[in-house]
Symmetry: C2
Subunit: 324 residues, 2 copies
C-alpha cells in the first residue's frame, strides 16, 4: 500500500500541516525564507506528522493543536537532518544538493537552529506543559543518541545491544514522541498514552532497521537509493555487526578491511554484500525489523477498531514493505 | 568596580548556579560530559545569570526556579557560542582551543544542540508557560539575528540602523530576556516587567558596542584581547561603519581595501586604526554605548532602591568601564 493511500483518512489535516509549515517558516530575514523553502519544497514523507495526527484522532482529539504540533515535530526532525549533514559532510539530501553543499556549513547550522527554535516556540504556544516537557526531553535524548553514534562510529566491536540503544535514541524516540503526543493532546489515560509510545518506539526501530537492510539489497530504480552507501562510508549497521559476530578470522579481516577502506571497488562491494548475506546479516536484521513491526501492531490492541487504528497498522506494514 | 564585587549580593545564588550547571551537564554519553566540562570549567562571566538573579530578587522572587533558569539561560548563550565557532571557524575561545578546533565541527554542532536542548528541558520543567514562551521566542529571534549577520557580513554599505538591528537581535534580546524573566518569576505588573526588558535591551546594545570599541583600543595585557581582530577578519562593526560614512573617496578606498584583504600587515593595521579614530568612528561608538548605559539605568527608575538595584546599576557602568 502506498503512503498516500494509508494516510487518506487524514488527507485534509496533512494539507493543513503543509500550510502551517509554510506559514511558520516565514521570517523577516529573507535568507531564512529562501533556504527553508528550498528544504521543505522537496517534501519528505511527513511520517511523524501523520503518526501524531492519527494518534491524536484515535485518542479522541481533533483540535487545532494537533496540526500545529504535527508541523513542529516535522521541524524538529528537519533540524536534526540539517545538523547531520554538517556532521556527515553530506553533499546530497533527498536527491538534491544538501543545504551545506549549496550554502555552506553556516547555513545548515543556523537554519537547523531556526527550525528547532521555531518548533520550540510552536510547542510553547500550545499552552500544554505535558507536551512541552515531552518534546524537550525527547530532543535532548535524540541529541545524546546522535552524539553516542559519532563516538561509536569507528568501534568495530560494537554490540547489537549498543547499536539498538543508538537507534532507539537517535530515531525511535522522536517517532515515539509523535505517537505519545497524540495521546497527550487527547488527554487519555496513562495506559493509552503508554501504548502509543510503545507503538512509536517499535515502529521507529523497525523503520531504521529496514533502512539498514535497504542499503544492502535496494534496487536503485525502484527505491532511488544506491546500494552499499553505508558500507562505502564505513557505517556500522546491524547487517554487518551481525556478520562480524558470525565470521571466521579470514572473513572478519575482509569485513574490517572493507569498513576502514577509503575506496571500495564495485566488485569488492558485491563480494562483501554476498559475504554479509551468507553470514545471515541481512535476514537477521530483516527478521528483527519484522519482530518490531509485530510488536508495534500489538501495542495498539488496547484501542478499539477505527479508520485511524487501521491506518497506523498499515503504516507499520509500509515500513517493512518498502524493501520487499 | 570588578564584576565579583558587583555581584556580591548574589554570591551564594551564583554558586548554586554553578552547581546546577555542573549537575545538568551530566550525560550517559561520556563524550558529552567530557566536552561540556571542558567548556564550562573555563568559566565565562555569567553576566546573564547574574542579571536574571538580580532582576528576580528585585521583583521579589527568590525561589528555586531563578537558579534553574539562570543556569539554563547561560546554556542558551553557550549553545550560540558553540555554533558561532563552527560558522567563524574559530580556533580559540576564551584563550583556549575552541571545541571545534579540538574535537571537530560535529562536536560543536551536537554539543551546542545538547546545551540548547537541556536548557529547553530545564525551562519546560519550570512549569511556567510565560517563561517558556519568552525564551523560545527570544532564541528564535537570536537565531534570526545571527543569520541576518552572516548575510550582511560582506555588505560594505550596511547602515548604522541595520547594524544596530543585528546587535539587538543577536546579543541584546537574550540579555533582555534574562532581565525580563526575573520579572516574570516575580509575577509583577507589566510596567515592571517592561522596565526590566528595556534595561536588558539597552545594556545588551551597550555591551556589544563596547566590545566593538575594545577591539580597536584594547591593551592586550589588561584585557587579554588582541587589538584589531575584527578588522583583520573583515568584520564590519560600528567604528568602521561610522568611519566609512565620514570618509573621503581616498579614505573610503583605504578602509575597503583593508576590509577585503586576506592579510593585514601590522603597520597597515595601525594606519587604519588611526584613520578610523580620525574619522570619529571610535568616539562615536563609545558615545552611543554610553547613551545606552544611561538609558539602561534610567529604565530602573520605577524600582525602589535596593542592593539588587544598586548591583544592576553598577553592572551597567561595568560594561563601559571595561574599555577605559
Amino acid at each position: 500500500m502506498k503512503l498516500e493511500q494509508i494516510t487518506l483518512p487524514i488527507k485534509e489535516d496533512l494539507e493543513r500541516v503543509e500550510e502551517v509549515i509554510s506559514e511558520r517558516l516565514k521570517s523577516d530575514v529573507p535568507f531564512i525564507t529562501t533556504v527553508t523553502h528550498y528544504i521543505t519544497e522537496n517534501g519528505g514523507k511527513r511520517v511523524r506528522p501523520a503518526i501524531l495526527l492519527l494518534a491524536a484522532r484515535m485518542a479522541g482529539y481533533s483540535g487545532p493543536s494537533a496540526i500545529e504540533c504535527a508541523a513542529a515535530i516535522e521541524f524538529c526532525h528537519t533540524a536534526t537532518l540539517l545538523h547531520d549533514d554538517v556532521i556527515d559532510k553530506a553533499s546530497l539530501r533527498r536527491g538534491r544538493p544538501s543545504t551545506n553543499a549549496r550554502w555552506g556549513n553556516h547555513a545548515s547550522v543556523l537554519i537547523g537552529d531556526f527550525f528547532y527554535c521555531r518548533a520550540s516556540e510552536m510547542f510553547a504556544n500550545s499552552d500544554n506543559l505535558k507536551v512541552i516537557q515531552l518534546i524537550t526531553k525527547a530532543m535532548r535524548e535524540t541529541t545524546e543518541g546522535e552524539t553516542l553514534e559519532i563516538t561509536k562510529s569507528n568501534d568495530l566491536c560494537i554490540t547489537e545491544e549498543e547499536y539498538l540503544k543508538i537507534l532507539h535514541a537517535k530515531t525511535a524516540i522522536l517517532i515515539a514522541t509523535a505517537a505519545e503526543m497524540g495521546g497527550l493532546l487527547g488527554n487519555v489515560s496513562e495506559e493509552f498514552v503508554r501504548s502509543l509510545k510503545e507503538y512509536g518506539t517499535s515502529l521507529g526501530l523497525a523503520f531504521q532497521l529496514a533502512d539498514d537492510v535497504l542499503d544492502y539489497i535496494s534496487d536503485e530504480e525502484t527505491f532511488g537509493k544506491t546500494r552499499g552507501i553505508d558500507l562505502r562510508e564505513g557505517k556500522l549497521t546491524l547487517p554487518i555487526i551481525t556478520a562480524l559476530k558470525q565470521a571466521d578470522p579470514q572473513e572478519t579481516r575482509m569485513l574490517k578491511d572493507a569498513l576502514i577502506s577509503e575506496k571500495l571497488e564495485e566488485s569488492k562491494l558485491k563480494e562483501i554484500i554476498s559475504l554479509i548475506q551468507k553470514l545471515n546479516g541481512i535476514d537477521y536484521t530483516l527478521n528483527l525489523a519484522q519482530h518490531y513491526i509485530a510488536k508495534a501492531k500489538g501495542s495498539l490492541a488496547v484501542f478499539k477498531n477505527s479508520i485511524e487504528k487501521e491506518a497506523l497498522l498499515n503504516l507499520a506494514d509500509y515500513v517493512i514493505c518498502r524493501e520487499k
